[in-house]
């Protein structure tokens, strides 16, 4: 039974991954990734990592992917497919020309090489343990894989990691806000940027080029 479930989930995972890489429209890629993530959660369950599976669905598929959906909806981006680029394409849009095409071909080759190597490494080296099934199922409140078990670990052995991870989240949040905030462009005035109380006393347009040129009295 578990083998069947394994194969189903594995097919889901791999096809989701293929979909992400191959699909033209970025939106479809996002959807493929969501599917991939859910299938991966099933695999996690099969491996007795209940909590991680739950976290995967809730956080990853639930929050991160939603964020992606928002951004893809906002930005969009051009759709290009991998197949188009693998063939030599002179004068392709984007000006990367032969460099880009060569890169894509090279990338494909490298990816393949990496896969082969990893497979050899993981499977062909004779790790006996990998041919085993791992820990058996022991039901209980704090046994392997349960939230209590994870929580215990997080707050005892991995406390520092836990704290650092939360710190990292904070930094990332601040960074995200800073990166994506709306800044003044060429046409917008700088007056909102820094407000020194003295500015209220100075005439409007102090320090601008307009003042220097002599056209001080100008409508905002």
């Amino acid at each position: 039974m578990s083998s069947v479930l394994f194969f189903l989930a594995a097919i889901g995972v791999i096809s989701g991954a293929v979909g992400v890489v191959v699909l033209r429209n970025p939106f479809f890629s996002v959807l493929a990734l969501v599917a991939h993530l859910v299938s991966l959660a099933v695999l996690f369950l099969l491996l007795r990592a209940e909590f991680v599976a739950a976290v995967q669905v809730v956080v990853y598929a639930g929050a991160v992917m939603v964020l992606y959906v928002f951004v893809v909806a906002y930005v969009g981006g051009e759709s290009d497919s991998i197949g188009e680029r693998l063939r030599s394409y002179n004068g392709s849009a984007g000006g990367s020309g032969s460099v880009g095409s060569a890169l894509r071909l090279g990338g494909a080759i490298l990816g393949g090489a990496l896969l082969v190597e990893l497979l050899i490494a993981l499977l062909g080296t004779g790790l006996e343990a990998t041919s085993g099934y791992g820990a058996g199922y022991v039901p209980g409140p704090k046994t392997y894989g349960t939230p209590a078990y994870i929580g215990n670990l997080l707050l005892t052995r991995f406390l520092l990691v836990f704290e650092l991870a939360s710190f990292l989240l904070l930094i990332a949040a601040v960074g995200g806000v800073v990166l994506a905030r709306r800044r003044g462009g060429i046409g917008e005035a700088d007056e909102h940027e820094t407000f020194v109380p003295l500015d209220a006393l100075r005439p409007r347009g102090t320090g601008t080029t307009a003042e220097g040129v002599g056209a001080r009295r100008q409508p905002s």
């Binding site: 460099v99 490298l110 190597e117 080296t125």
Partner: protein, 674 residues
């Protein structure tokens, strides 16, 4: 004790240099001049102390060596920082520091309005330090160091007015020729070191003179020794401006007059004489080298005398006179007349420095003009200067009882005594004396007798002449009076007390110094210097009385004849010099063009060197150095960096690919390992 004084003699001028050099901005007014003078005066006092304490030793023990530290003792070379205090070096430091003190005093007034006042005294103190180092050196290495420093100081002082192109060129010329001499000195040292195995002077001499195992064998004229001595002579000739390395001395007159007085009359140019006297044990065993020295000395004596007849720049006349007199000294020490040669060195220092100082005063009265053709009739306007000129001139011409008479004639006496072919030198010496008298008094009569020129009349009226536009005396081009050029105000002796004091003291020396070495009467110099020349053959004077009388009277008569001739040509018969010039046209051309030595040097040395340099530049330098070495290296670096730069393409995906490639590679490596 004597050696402590020796170190003090070196320390004071060095201290003076450092204080004036580093306190450049902080020294008020003209105090730098007094500091400099004071430093040299203290050195003079220390030299006196050395003299007194040296005489306190027994004559055999009057050669004292003192070493501060040894800075290299490797590979058989014993390089010590040691000085040798013996009668010869004490004699030299007395002369050098004494005359230098007076010249410093003179300079305080002479350079008063010059913007480079402090720099001048710093350089001058440095020069005196170097010269004292040279004469006090106890080993070859320190001697070479002092020699080189003196050359450097000479360069600094000749091109003191550095914005004058003529001055800088002259400085370079002097330096280059001096370097040739330095090379000779170093190579000569090598030849001597090869056999004696030591750089220390006294030890070297002992090795050469040792009766059991003399370093150069028992005979004379050992090949290496002659080579070494001739190379030392090359050094001596370059420093003392003997033919053929003399061309720098007349050009060195571009420096301020006190510099000419100190360096190119009294001290630096006598370094060659000192060298030969110091190295006498070596020269005595290489008579071939001695003969070379004597012949060159005599040749210079005559040639310089003839050139002096035709020169119009007053300082150059005195310069050639110096060259000629040094020829006497070189000749003297080369034939073994050490005491006589050194005595002449002393008296020459007095009267030549005096002549230069007086010439400085005269040039000041002329507002910077140096040409004899424009001078005349200053007798009433510059009485003190005139008297100094007369005293100096009489001493130079060898008229008794002035000092020059005793010293010069003594050299000639010893030369005559040597016999053999030295009679030629004897005759040459007297011919030279005649020429000396003629050109000296030509200079004096032209400048001071006859109709007073405009500047003289101005001065008689009480007003010192100033040129409206300061000019370079040699080329006549206009200049200004800012730093790098002479100052706006020129000084004359009649109005500046320090100048008068200095000149007065020198005049006393010029007059009275002869009294200490009157032949057959007193032998102060002889006795004093004897311990230094204990091993010299022929040191004791054994002049036959007949030759002595002939020599003395001949010398006097020739001197007087020269003066009389000069008087006739330039005072009583004004047109006569023109007439003579026209009649002896080719000879005159030869003399005025300085026997074409400059042109000869240019042809034989400068042009081939320039051609070789151009050739090297065009072929070797261009192909090998520029293209291969430099071009190759930069090309490789450039290509390498271009290759590396290609990796920074800016493509993110390219970087990602590299990452994956790297991971794959590492994994592959580990796979292979397992």
């Amino acid at each position: 004790m004597a050696t402590t004084y020796g170190w003090l003699v070196l320390a004071f001028p060095l201290l003076g240099t450092l204080v004036t050099a580093f306190g450049f901005r902080h020294l008020p007014g003209r105090s730098a001049g007094w500091i400099g003078t004071g430093a040299i005066f203290l050195a003079f006092l220390a030299a006196l102390g050395a003299l007194i304490s040296l005489q306190g030793h027994a004559p055999e023990h009057r050669q004292l060596v003192s070493s501060l530290w040894s800075y290299a003792s490797t590979a058989g070379i014993d390089a010590q920082m040691s000085i040798l205090v013996d009668p010869l070096s004490v004699f030299m430091i007395l002369v050098v520091s004494g005359v230098s003190t007076l010249i410093h005093l003179y300079s305080i007034s002479y350079m008063e309005k010059d913007r480079g006042f402090v720099r001048y005294f710093s350089y001058l103190n440095f020069f005196v330090f170097s010269m004292l180092l040279l004469v006090l050196a106890g080993n070859f290495l320190l001697l070479i160091v002092g020699w080189a420093f003196v050359g450097a100081a000479s360069y600094l002082l000749i091109s003191f007015w550095y914005r004058r192109t003529t001055a800088t060129k002259a400085g370079i010329k002097a330096f280059v020729i001096n370097v040739v001499g330095d090379a000779g000195l170093v190579l000569g040292t090598y030849f001597i070191f090869k056999h004696t195995g030591t750089l220390d002077l006294l030890k070297s001499f002992h090795a050469v003179e040792s009766p059991a195992h003399p370093a150069f064998g028992h005979g004379t004229n050992n090949g290496d020794l002659v080579a070494g001595c001739v190379l030392l002579l090359v050094g001596a000739f370059a420093k003392s401006a003997q033919i053929p390395l003399h061309t720098w001395l007349p050009d060195a007159m571009e420096g301020p007059t006190p510099v000419s007085s100190l360096i190119h009359a009294a001290t630096m140019v006598t370094a060659g004489v000192y060298l030969i006297a110091r190295m006498h044990p070596l020269f005595e065993r290489a008579p071939a080298a001695q003969d070379v020295g004597a012949v060159i000395g005599a040749a210079t004596l005559l040639i310089a005398g003839t050139i002096g007849l035709a020169q119009t720049d007053i300082k150059r006349v005195i310069a050639y006179s110096t060259m000629s007199q040094i020829g006497y000294m070189i000749m003297g020490v080369s034939v073994g007349a050490y005491a006589a040669g050194l005595f002449h060195l002393m008296t020459h220092a007095f009267f030549k420095a005096l002549l230069f100082m007086a010439a400085g005063s005269l040039i000041g009265a002329m507002g910077g003009e140096q040409s004899l053709e424009r001078m005349g009739g200053f007798r009433k306007a510059l009485p003190f200067t005139y008297v100094c000129f007369i005293i100096g001139g009489l001493a130079l011409s060898g008229i008794p009882p002035f000092s020059g008479f005793f010293s010069k004639d003594e050299i000639l006496l010893v030369t005559g005594e040597r016999g053999g072919w030295h009679w030629i030198l004897y005759v040459a010496g007297y011919v030279g004396a005649l020429l000396t008298a003629i050109y000296t008094f030509r200079m004096i009569f032209r400048a001071f007798h006859g109709e007073p020129v405009a500047e003289a009349r101005e001065l008689e009226g009480g007003h010192l002449h100033h040129a409206e536009v300061p000019r370079n005396p040699a080329t006549g081009e206009a200049e200004d009076t800012d730093v790098g050029f002479p100052g706006p105000v020129h000084a004359i002796a009649e109005r500046a007390l320090p100048m008068r004091i200095a000149m007065g003291l020198l005049a006393l020396g010029a007059v009275g110094a002869g009294l200490i070495q009157i032949p057959k009467v007193d032998f102060v110099i002889d006795d004093f210097l004897r311990p230094s020349f204990a091993t010299a053959s022929g040191y004791e004077p054994h002049t036959k009385t007949g030759l002595l009388v002939i020599g003395l009277t001949l010398g006097t008569l020739i001197g007087l004849a020269g003066i009389a001739l000069a008087y006739r040509i330039w005072v009583t018969r004004p047109g006569m010099s023109e007439a003579i010039r026209l009649r002896t046209r080719p000879l005159y051309e030869l003399f005025v063009n300085k026997w074409y030595f400059d042109e000869l040097t240019d042809l034989l040395v400068v042009r081939p060197a320039a051609a070789a340099g151009a050739f090297a530049r065009d072929t070797f330098e261009r192909v090998f150095v520029d293209d291969t070495l430099i071009g190759g290296t930069t090309g490789i670096v450039r290509a390498g960096s271009a290759a590396v730069r290609a990796a920074q393409s800016g493509f993110v995906r390219y970087y990602a690919a590299l990452l994956v490639l790297g991971v794959t590679g590492v994994g592959f490596y580990f796979l292979l390992q397992a």
